[in-house]
């Protein structure tokens, strides 16, 4: 382990120099495709790339298989980006991980790792949505290009947002109106907060995303171009009849293609998602009633422990802090990774607006209100970021004749995607984390092998099948799922050897990290037998025993 840490320092140093940082902004799909292609071309022995499927929008879902030899037979980590279409950073983190891993593929420890394990990288699961970042009017969107009737009125995509001020960004509009529920934030009047009626506060503004009620149904921008969101369409905690969820779980081509592929990848022991949910800064907590129900809603205790172990490693390696608590939305992918795929599933957004203390030089005061926008603006000021807020400006709005309507507010994307110059550092830290995680992988060893002569020609063989890794060979939740394989222990014997006791072939259930299972056989006969134990998530180990 110590070796790995030493290596990490070296690694960070190395990367700064090796990678040409000529990219200035997040990757659109063609840039991403080029980066994938370049990687596969430069490291043909280590990287295989392919398109898993195409979305309804005609965009490829790219995947990379990184490893050596028979990659499908080695324990594997899955890395997924772009689960949330607004989160461009997740895409960068996933493809960036692949690039940085390859950049150090000649380093001994990485070479060894790539001989032993496989990495499957899916950099962008929402290519239809992320492309909106590059659209003429920048617009946060999660849905793919499936045509959906979000408001279920029989018309499709009839009320999208509109760039009223023509600044190339879909921001916000506030309407001065006595029925409004919002008021200006006294900490920073550029931002609005919900008025708290219980404190006698009075709302003065209606706050809506920038747009016109194109279909005149009283709702604004409620049925825009976005279709089904990848991160709302998984089968765990799926909620039907919600805009963006899909008519039923796993309805979309990209969701199906990924799930089909993953279910057949029996060697996957962990899934790392770069997306909105965060169980790496703070691990999940075990909640006994949640596993006592038929529909399980809590991690099992043993799995929660593994999460805690990995979380500790994450915080140590990435040195990230003050992560806001996240609430997974319904149909979320990373939750699916645990609850339905049955794998250890970890997720982090990678970046969040850092907490900053008031700067007395700028006469800043401590905030009285919790407000992500105000916090962002204060942090951005300190960073010298100036172009992410559109000052409120009055426009004439057809739906509010005679009322004051102002367009402005925080730009789309900026709350969850940092300035691009920060991305490389974030990628480097998270690359180190995934390498650290791989260092915790389940691994089998056959130890304490004992042979005893019980009588002439009758030998008792005893040994321990040990999981020398930190993580379980498979999860507790996967115990009863036929998509996770048991450890098969097979004794290869010859025709003169018979089993008086103990099974020639048997399967073992999961073994926790650093735990073991003792096996014993009584074998009649002489010569040698070979005992082999293995499973797709652990690799296999075999020993020869003389009777």
């Amino acid at each position: 382990m110590k070796k790995l840490y030493l290596f990490n320092f070296f690694f960070l140093f190395l990367l700064g120099n090796v990678l040409a940082q000529n990219q200035q902004d997040y990757s659109n799909n063609s840039t991403l495709a080029q980066r994938v292609k370049a990687l596969a071309a430069k490291y043909p022995q280590l990287v295989k790339s392919k398109s898993l499927t195409q979305t309804i929008g005609g965009r490829d879902i790219l995947m990379l298989t990184i490893g050596t030899g028979k990659t499908e037979q080695k324990p594997a980590v899955v890395v997924v980006g772009g689960v949330e279409g607004k989160h461009l950073l997740g895409v960068e983190m996933a493809i960036g991980f692949a690039e940085k891993l390859m950049a150090s593929s000649t380093v001994d420890s990485i070479k060894t790792l790539l001989d032993k394990q496989t990495f499957y990288v899916f950099p962008n699961m929402s290519p239809d949505a992320t492309e909106q970042y590059f659209a003429k009017a920048k617009n946060e969107r999660s849905g793919n290009a499936t045509k959906t009737d979000d408001d279920r009125d029989g018309n499709i995509n009839e009320d999208d947002s509109d760039d009223l001020d023509g600044n190339g960004k879909i921001t916000w509009m506030r309407i001065a109106d006595p029925t409004g529920k919002y008021k200006l934030n006294t900490d920073d009047p550029r931002s609005l907060l919900m008025a708290d009626a219980t404190k006698g506060e009075i709302g003065k503004y209606i706050l809506l995303p920038e747009g016109i009620d194109n279909d005149k149904d009283g709702e604004f921008n409620e049925d825009g171009d976005g279709g089904v969101a990848f991160n709302k369409n998984s089968s765990y905690n799926f909620k039907p009849f919600v805009a963006g969820a899909g008519e039923y779980a796993v309805s979309e081509k990209e969701n199906r293609a990924l799930f089909d592929w993953l279910f057949d990848a029996f060697n996957v022991y962990a899934v790392v998602t770069f997306g909105p949910t965060n169980n790496l800064s703070t691990p999940v907590t075990f909640n006994a009633p949640g596993v006592a129900k038929r529909i399980i809603t809590s991690w099992f205790e043993a799995d929660a422990k593994a999460n805690a172990l990995v979380s500790e490693r994450y915080n140590k390696i990435t040195k990230t802090k003050d992560a806001p608590k996240t609430q997974s939305e319904s149909g979320d992918f990373s939750q699916w990774g645990y609850f339905h795929y049955g794998r250890l599933s970890f997720s982090t957004p990678g970046w969040w607006v850092p907490k900053v203390a008031p700067d007395s030089a700028r006469k800043e005061k401590k905030f009285n209100n919790e407000d992500a926008v105000a916090s962002y603006l204060r942090w951005a000021t300190g960073q010298g970021i100036t172009n992410t807020f559109t000052p409120w400006k009055a426009v004439a709005h057809p739906d509010f004749p005679g009322q004051t309507v102002e367009v402005g507010g925080l730009d789309p994307f900026v709350l969850i995607n940092p300035p691009y110059k920060m991305v490389d550092g974030i990628v480097a830290k998270h690359t180190d984390f995934i390498i650290g995680l791989a260092g915790m992988a389940p691994q089998l060893d056959l130890i304490n092998v004992k042979t005893e002569k019980v009588a002439d020609g009758l030998t008792r063989v005893t040994l321990k099948v040990m999981n020398t890794g930190d993580l379980p060979t498979y999860t507790k939740i996967g115990d009863r799922s036929y998509f996770l394989k048991k450890i098969v222990v097979n004794v290869k014997s010859n025709a003169n050897q018979t089993f008086v006791s103990g099974r020639k072939t048997q399967t073992l259930e999961s073994i926790q990290g650093k735990e073991f299972k003792e096996l014993t056989w009584l074998i009649k006969g002489t010569g040698k037998v070979t005992i082999e134990a293995g499973s797709p998530t652990t690799g296999s180990k075999s020993i020869e025993v003389s009777l």
Binding site: V250, S251, F483, T505
Partner: protein, 576 residues
Amino acid sequence: MRKNIILLAAMILCAGILKAQKPENILAAVGTPPNPKVQVSWNRYNDYAAITDICKRLAAAHPNLVKIESMGKSFQGKDLWVVTITDTKVGNADKKPAMYIDGNIHSNEIQGSEFALYTAWYLAEMYASGNKSIMSLLADKTFYIAPTINPDARDNFIHQANTAHSPRTGLIPIDNDRDGTTNEDGFDDLDGDGHIVMMRRKSATGRFKVDPTDNRRMILVGAEEKGEYELLGSEGNDNDGDGFVNEDGEGAYDPNRDWGWNWQPNYIQGGAYKYPFSLPENRAIVDFVMKHPNIAAAQSYHNNGGMILRGPGAIEDVDTYNALDIRVYDALGKKGEEMLPGYKYLVVYKDLYSVFGGELDWFYGGRGIYTFSNELWTGYSMYNKTDGEDSQNQLYTFDKDLLMKDAFVDWHAYKHPLYGDIEIGGFKKTYTRLHPGFLLESDAHRNMAFSVYHAYNTPKLSVGEIEVKDIGGGLTQVTTIVNNERMIPTHSSQDVKNNIEIPDIISLSGGTVVAGMIVTNRDMNFTVEQKLDPTNIKVQNIPGNSFVTVRWLVKGGSKFTVNVNSKKGGLASKSN
């Protein structure tokens, strides 16, 4: 192949004999097509090729009534046939209220296909014979009938050695014992007689003995009695040498745990596959159903036990099935109990067992369609009385009394590689869950009639009164009533609650509409105005055996036409 040739020869022979019986020699029995264009024997079971043949012959014989198309392909690439039956000379098939029927989702539950096919055949042939009820039904409604939605494993059940319970699954290989190899240890037809039956062994410690009243039957001995035999399960061997017998056979998932309503993974809901509609057969069906929003009723056929089942499948969905919809279900289900002697109208989660991801729950929960699953065949039919205390015994007496012992493979000796001297015997796969030949047509007919009743009760919309009143100022007030003459609403309350299907649209033409509204109380003049697009009034629902009232204020015109367009209720129109 040779079997097929013999079959073909037999068919040609039969056809010849039938020709010799001229219509004038026959007196039609009531309620049965007197002289059907397509001859089918309804006292036997059909494999996929035979089903395909019947569907194609129906379509060829009744081009104006029957259309056959493929919904998609099975795992092995077989076409999933769906037969559309309606009077194509009246209206558009896909705009009429429709009933969807499928059979054989569980591959061993094969008679659902014969029941579904019988329904298709009966509707077409009765229409062709001039039966007024069916002609009127097919003018109003469309039937989409998919005889088998699991054709791969149906053929496995029919053509391979099996028990009455195998396979229940489709044929995608599954590693049931999770050892890394698939389907490596299934049943073995040890004696090669084409049947998988039971194995028994003489044993000093056994707890079974031969029933002195019927030597085919094994019974458990009493507490103070000594047994002679032990039972060793279904015919098989430990093919993979892991110490278990028959633990990893064909497939082994459940296509009826694969539907996208409250779907749960296989560690919670045994039989679930990867995700909702991850089985190609079900995916083809869901795509078909989504493309046919006119489906207002659905029926799936299973076996056995004589049940008319509705959801919810799981207690977690109790609130999904709300009181208004349950009233409709109850009315239909109770009628079904009368029509199907020995069948009981039951609720899956409380009367049967818990099911997540079942077909009927998706049809109702996901699409708002009133759906039943019938568990075909009941022991009641053996002696037309409710099962006695010993229904197991009845299986033996019925076989002896009425089936001439055709259902049983007599116990015979066999030398088993693992168990040594054993005996093999037991009921054939075609008994205990499947109808004996002579009862097949009768029960198919009764279930068909239940579906006809269900389909008849899908919405039938009509425009009633059109009242035109001059209210001065150049404005005319047009008030109309749209009736639903049947029990089923255009939108079930599950549908209304979730806006599953778009509203029904009631439109006015003739004159310029300046305002439009739904009249909620005509006497008190309570109305709800629709400001946007008042020409086309959207109503959330037209309830069963009820009506809605709509009003417009119009400039100009005196001749008006009211058009109604409802996805599940069909079209209606009237002019004043």
